[in-house]
Structures are given as structure tokens and as C-alpha cells.
Amino acid sequence: MIGLFDVGGRGLLIAIVGLGVAALLAAAWLVPAVMRALPVRMQPQASTLARLGAGATVWGVSAMAWIVLGGGRSSVSKIVTTLYYVTNGIVALAALFGILYLIASLFPEPFREWFRTAAFLLPAVLLLFGLVVPAILNVSDSFYDRNDEWYGFGNYVDIFTKDANIKVFSNTLWWGIIVTIASTVMGITIARFADRMRGEAVAKAAIFLPTAISMVGAGVIWNFVYSPREYGLLNSILPGDPEFFLQDSSLFGITSPWLPGKNTLFIMIVVIWIQAGFSTVVISAALKGVPDDLVEAAKIDGATDRQAFYKVVLPYIKSTIITVATTTVLAVLKIFDIIQTMGKGGSFGTSTIANEMYEQGFPQDNEGLGAAWAVMLFLLVLPIVFVNSRNQRAQREGR
């Protein structure tokens, strides 16, 4: 069907859209008239029908436009195709809930309420099975080797005995520790000093901007900083011969599976650059929530600015800081994209658990080891979420 009438597509498109609009306008005039003529009892059903009809018309027009123009190479046809996909998704969604709710409403009273509740929840619960079932399957996968033979705990033994794997594991831990601490401290510093400063909004926007940039984009951006070529900013500032920052897997000459390489540290800087904005904004807002009289009381009691900040303000916003740190550590432990781009898929000893899960599961075709890495990540994240949920509960009760 695609591109059926490629010739003269634009004219046809205009005709179809015109027809659709005309139909809608006619309906807008006709429907109320019909509605008034109907007995009052039937009006609700009629209005539902009319709405469904209007939705179907819009959808039909976009579908027809797509049949005529979709798959074409012109930019109009690309836009039409995109529109068609997007409306399709939304129509399907609306239809899903509409149908579920209608079905639920067919049941007699004592059950109707129950089925309506189910209609509200069902799509979400179904999607969540997409997490639960794979997570369980994944655990069983982790006991098989690359030839799908039973391997017992072999994959886990490999993780803790092979140097390359220890490196992956320790890298991930270092990522979690260094990036989380650095971006939280950055957030606290900027939020503190920028608070009520002139130009606060501009400064914070500058810090926040990288949050919107993808890791892939960040890889390109930072190449102009780290590159050993003439256009590498860092090499042009540092004296001496150009360095290959992203290929040095030792830490100032020391190579150990338990230490991160220098290249890993340089990639971490990029992620700190991305993450700091989030910490800044959240902590800054928390700072503005600290009651003025609390700080004033501390000052009257003889505290300096510094003391007031560290002894009074920071403890007050402690739970916010814990939340920020938790969010950051969860994001960082799953770090993947940037390793793919800047670490060249984890070469030069830059791999992390999430990267390894992908590398083993797909390019290396060792699904068992990939699954075992996934389980390891799950075990790493579990205590963090546990601590955070306790923190949140304490915060609620403290109110």
C-alpha cells in the first residue's frame, strides 16, 4: 500500500484533508441538531457516539493521507508518516481504555465497580509483567554457558575470578562512588553559593543544560576536549606531548583490576558534567525551603555563615540530599551509552556491568554471562533502594 499514488500526492493530500475537515464541520453542525431531536434518555449514548465518530474521522484522514503519501521521500510524506504513527499510538491507547471501561460497565452492579478498577489497572499490570517475567527468566539464564549448556554458578565464579571481570565490577563500584559524590557535592556547592545571588537563574541554567544532552551527543562534545589531535582543548592547555586520555587504562602508571583507569576517570567527568544539573536544581529548591528563622536563630546564637550552613541548613535538607544521591547512584550504576561511545564499547578496560551485560548478551553471544551480570547489578542496586525507602519513610514520619 505504501506510496500507492506517489504521483500528485500533494494534491491528493490536500483533497483528503479538506474532505476530512469538511466532514467534521458538517458533523459539528449536524450532531447538535440530531441530539436535540433525540429523547433525553438516549442523549448520553449519542454524544459518546458522536465523539467516537469525530475521533475515527481524524484517524481515518491521517490513515488515508498515509496510504497516499507514506513511504515517499519528500519531507511532506515523512511528516505525514510520523503523524500517522503518532496518532495510531494514541488512538490505540484511547481505544484500549475506552473498550476496557465499556466492557467493565456491562457487568451488573456489585461487580461493575470491581471490573472498572481492573480496567484502570490492567494495562499497567500487563506491562509490568514485561519486567517481572524477564527478571525471573534472567536468573535462570544466568546458570547456562555460552553454548546453552548448564553451567551452575560458573558464570558467577568467572565474575569474581577473572581479572577482566573484576575490572568490570570494580569499575562499576568506582563509578557509583566517584560520580555520585562528585555530582552531589557540586550540586550542594552551586546551590549554596548561587542562592539569591544576582544571576542565579542564568548560572543554574548553564549547569542544568547538559542534563538534556544524550550520552551519545556528550561523546561527540567531549571529543573536542579530550582528543589528542589539534582540536583537543585539554591537550592544547596541558604542556608536553598530546596524551590519549581515553586509552590510558592505568592509574598514574599503576595497573590493577581493583583500580579504575585514567580513561575511566575522564569518562566519569563527562557524566558528572551531565548529572550535576539535576543535583543542583533539586538541592537548590530544598535550600529555598529552609525556613529563614532557622538560619537567623543560628546566627543570633553566634554561628558564622559557614557554621550555619554546615550545622543547621545541611542537616535540615539531609533527606533531600540522600534522595539526590540515591537517584544519581541508580542512574550511574546502569551507565551504558557513554561507555559504548567514549569507551569504544568497553575497550581499554573501561567496561561497566551494564555495558558488559550488553556486550556479552548480544555481540559476544554469551547470554548466560550477560544474565549473570544483570543479576549482579540487581543485587548491587537492591540495598540502595532499601536504604532510600527507609529514609523516605523516616522523612514521612518526621513530618
Binding site: T81, L128, A194, I207, S214, V282, A286, G289
Partner: protein
Amino acid sequence: MADKTPMGTRVAGATTGPVGRVIVWFLAALWTVPTLGLFISSFRPEDDIKTDGWWNWFKNPARVTWDNYSGVLDNKVNGLQFSEFFWNSVRIAIPSAIIPIVIAAFAAYALSWMHFRGRDWLFVVIVGLMVVPLQMTLIPLLQFFGGDYFPDALEGVTTIWIAHAIFGMPLAIFLLRNFIAGLPGEIIEAARVDGASHLTIFTRLVLPLSVPAIASLGIFQFLWVWNDLLVAKVFGGGATNQPMTFAMVDMVGNKGNEWQLLTAGAFVMMVVPLIVFLSLQRYFVRGLLAGSVKG
């Protein structure tokens, strides 16, 4: 929430002495330099980019060109024009942001205001699922989508939508439930006394009142999907369904030395998130704060 605190002249405000101000502006400048470098590079002629640093552009600011941008849009990746990947990204990102949020909003309403047995347990389980790393589910999900139970016609963009919806679900339900459960109960009750059904309360009251939370979550989800590489790479199948991130990585791999294309490409990729982000920043920040800041 924080913005309820009256902004008075505060003693703590005096902490921003000259040292503090220098620190802030220094960091702000430092944070801007890499992006600025990309921005400038993307307008420089190919030879300039490859032979000297972008900071040297200031010496000769007249040397600018649009060629990089037209070059990258015409550039072919896996036989497809770069601009196709832009539309793919749009096609993936908009429904992938809307679908999970709508579904999560319905669930969050049920978890907040509908009474059924096991409600709190269900919520705890959903929150617990935030812990499952998405990488853990890739292989089994891929097998499911590729298997006999799943209609082949839906493979491609739809699979990516569903995958993103799955991965976004726990966080979306968690944040939206926190917000929706926090709406004043008397308003919901008033609507019930007025004769509204759950669907009416949801569409006429709860959705309009949840706009800040929904908008911020939508932006968050949109940015995440737009910037995503992994999910699309695993679930998208061939290059015809891939987003711009895929094209960029491909270009970095195959055309690693054509920096004039990569700079422009990276900037094209950034434009949409930046627009979304800057125009809706207020919502975004407010949404981030919901539930995380003691108020």
C-alpha cells in the same frame, strides 16, 4: 513545597560573598565550554575543524558555513538519509512518552482513589520493580517480541514503544501516585457526591489537576527516550526504525574522522531536547521536586 516559603531578605543570602560568586560563575563557565565548543565547531568549515581548535575561531570569526548541516542531513547512514532518523526519533519519542504516562496515570488513580483489596501491596511491588535494571529484561523481552505470541506486524517502532512503556512504568506510577494521592480528598468526594463516576473524576478533575506532574514526567520520559540508544538498538530491528542516536553512533564508528558531520549531527540531535527542555523547564523542575523535597 519549597515555593510556598516567602522570599524574604534572608541572613543566609548574605553567604554569597565575592568568593562564592567567583566559584559559581567559574563553574557555570566551565560547564558551558564543551557545548560552546561543539556549537562553534558545527559552523566551521571542514578543514578548520580538523586542523585547529575551535577556540581559534575567535581569531577569524568570519569563517562560518552551513555546509556541515546540509552535509549531515544529506549524509547516508545504512543507506538512509540522516533526516529520516530525525523523523524516526520523533515517531519513537512522542508515543513512547505519552503511552506509559497515560497508562500509569490510570493505574496511579486506581492506586490512590479506588478501593480494592491488596492495593498497598500492589503499589509496593510496583515500586520494587524500579530496581530491575532494564538490561536484565532485554533478552527475554526480545525473545517474546520475536516469538509466536507476538504479532509480527507490530515489530519495529511499536516494539520500541512497548519496551519504553514497560521500562518507564514503575517510575511513572510511583511519581504519579505520589502526586495524585496527594490531591485533596474532599475534592474527589465532592465530585462523587455531585454524581461523578471514576472515569469522570479521572478525566475532568484528576488529569487537569495533575498537569504539573504529568508534564514534568512527560518531559523526563521524552528526554530519556529521545536520548536512548540501547532500547532502540535492541528492539528496533533494522536501521529503518532506528532513532538519531543510532545514526550518530554509526557515524562515530564509520566516519570517526568526519568531525564536520558529527558536530552538526550532534547539534541537530540536541535541538529538540533543548527546545522541549528550555520551554518547559519550570514544569520539569517542579516535577523533579514533587516528593523529593521536604515541604
